[in-house]
């Protein structure tokens, strides 16, 4: 195994992904949102009518592409393997609260990197929260945290989420009357389907090949001083930063940042929640989508948790907006932190025979 080549590959992949992220904004996606799994799954929930926030309803082809791109490459590499059964209900709730945290901050870890590259200093506060959340997750991991083993599943189980993504693509293209499309707002800002889908396929394949994960980068540095995944994270930042500077999309500061608010405490706590939850799930939302494409049914359940979480966030006024967090959102983040710490505690310090 060539470790040096591995690092070069992830650096190149991260660089390409950063460039694609800037290109998607130039092609029509909202600013600093070339990619955002939380935002895009939220928009997809809206497109399906699971929430009725009219500004954010659009079945995002990027997510569809991610899952399918990862699936195609994993099949080509002989790595597609239907697996599952590792505490699916627990994973559903963890993913639910990851979305609550992400929509408090207004972005998943991927968008956090892109916001940093756009000069949004609120994302620095988010990054600090994210690392604190991961460090808390690492504490539990070091003490034996586990959601138990996965087991081999049927092909149907492994292919379920990719098939759902294909159905979503058909719904997007055919646009029947029951699918919602935002007329005005962030949901109306999007690149053409073919570009979004193509970008998703490429990023999905690159992430599958390199195992890219925003959470894994910091987790592995803290746990093993292993920098591979963090190299990918840094390269996305670097090339997106250069792209933003070239195309005049870089605006340094806290105020008036696109799809962002300036409430530091809640940006921080939102990302603590997301960082802790993602560490407990074993990967950021991007990685979850990639693993779902590789046949991992537990990651498919995480997708469903994120989707339902997004719907709840908009149906019950939990999601923040450019104006700032909502009172309901603050309560939900606190509840999320308490619930996740309880889940982590019980799956770490529970009876040993239950964990083995």
């Amino acid at each position: 195994m060539n470790f040096k080549a591995e690092r070069i590959h992830i650096a190149i992949a991260g660089g390409i992904i950063g460039i694609i992220s800037v290109a998607l904004v130039l092609l029509g996606n909202p600013a600093n949102m070339g990619f955002c799994l939380a935002c895009f799954i939220r928009d997809t929930a809206g497109g399906l009518g699971l929430h009725r926030a009219e500004a954010v309803q659009y079945i995002r082809p990027e997510v569809i592409g991610l899952v399918l791109g990862a699936m195609i490459l994993s099949m080509a590499r002989g790595e597609f393997a239907p697996r599952g059964g590792s505490a699916p209900v627990t994973r559903f709730f963890i993913a639910f609260f990851v979305m609550v945290g992400a929509l408090m901050f207004l972005g998943c870890p991927f968008r956090m990197v892109l916001r940093l590259a756009g000069g949004d200093l609120n994302a620095v506060v988010g990054l600090i929260g994210f690392v604190v959340g991961i460090a808390a997750g690492v504490f539990f991991l070091k003490n034996g945290y586990s959601l138990k083993r996965t087991y081999k599943q049927t092909m149907v189980e492994g292919l379920s989420l990719p098939i759902v993504q294909l159905v979503l693509l058909i719904l997007l293209v055919s646009a029947p009357a029951f699918i919602f499309f935002t007329a005005e707002g962030p949901g109306a800002k999007h690149a053409a389907v073919i570009y979004s889908l193509g970008a998703g396929l490429i990023v999905g394949a690159l992430a599958q090949y390199t195992r890219l994960c925003m959470v894994g980068g910091f987790r592995d540095i803290i746990l093993f001083r292993e920098p591979k995944l963090l190299i990918g994270f840094c390269m996305i930042f670097l090339t997106a930063l250069i792209g933003n500077l070239i195309f005049g999309k870089f605006h340094l500061g806290f105020a008036d940042q696109p799809v962002a608010h300036t409430d530091s405490l809640w940006n921080f706590l939102g990302m603590v929640l997301a960082g802790l939850g993602c560490t407990m799930l074993g990967g950021c939302p991007l990685r979850q989508m990639v693993m779902a494409g590789e046949g991992n049914a537990d990651s498919a359940v995480s997708y469903l948790g994120l989707l339902v979480g997004a719907a709840f966030c908009h149906n019950f006024g939990l999601a923040a907006s450019g104006k700032g967090p909502t009172p309901n959102g603050k309560i939900a983040v606190i509840i999320g932190l308490v619930v996740l710490v309880c889940i982590a505690f019980m799956n770490t310090f529970g009876k040993k025979e239950e964990r083995s």
Binding site: M1, F224, G282
Partner: protein, 69 residues
């Protein structure tokens, strides 16, 4: 032999790290069912001063052997 089948990373690496720190043996073997785990364990082996080799046991399982350099 560490049975890490069905465990997702970083758990297998933590298991072998803990074993290395506790027992300091010259050789360890680990059974896993996914390639990312093989890669992560091999990477850990290098940082811990071990030579790592892996072979595919069957369709679903890999056996990773760590030998002290």
């Amino acid at each position: 032999m560490i049975d890490a089948r069905g465990l997702s990373c970083p758990q297998p690496v933590l298991l072998i790290k803990s074993a290395v720190e506790k027992t300091h043996e010259s050789q360890y073997t680990l059974l896993t069912d996914n390639m990312p785990c093989v890669e992560n364990v091999c990477r850990f082996a290098k940082s811990a001063g071990y030579e790592a080799e892996y072979k595919k046991q069957n369709e679903e399982e890999f056996l990773v052997t760590l030998t002290r350099k």
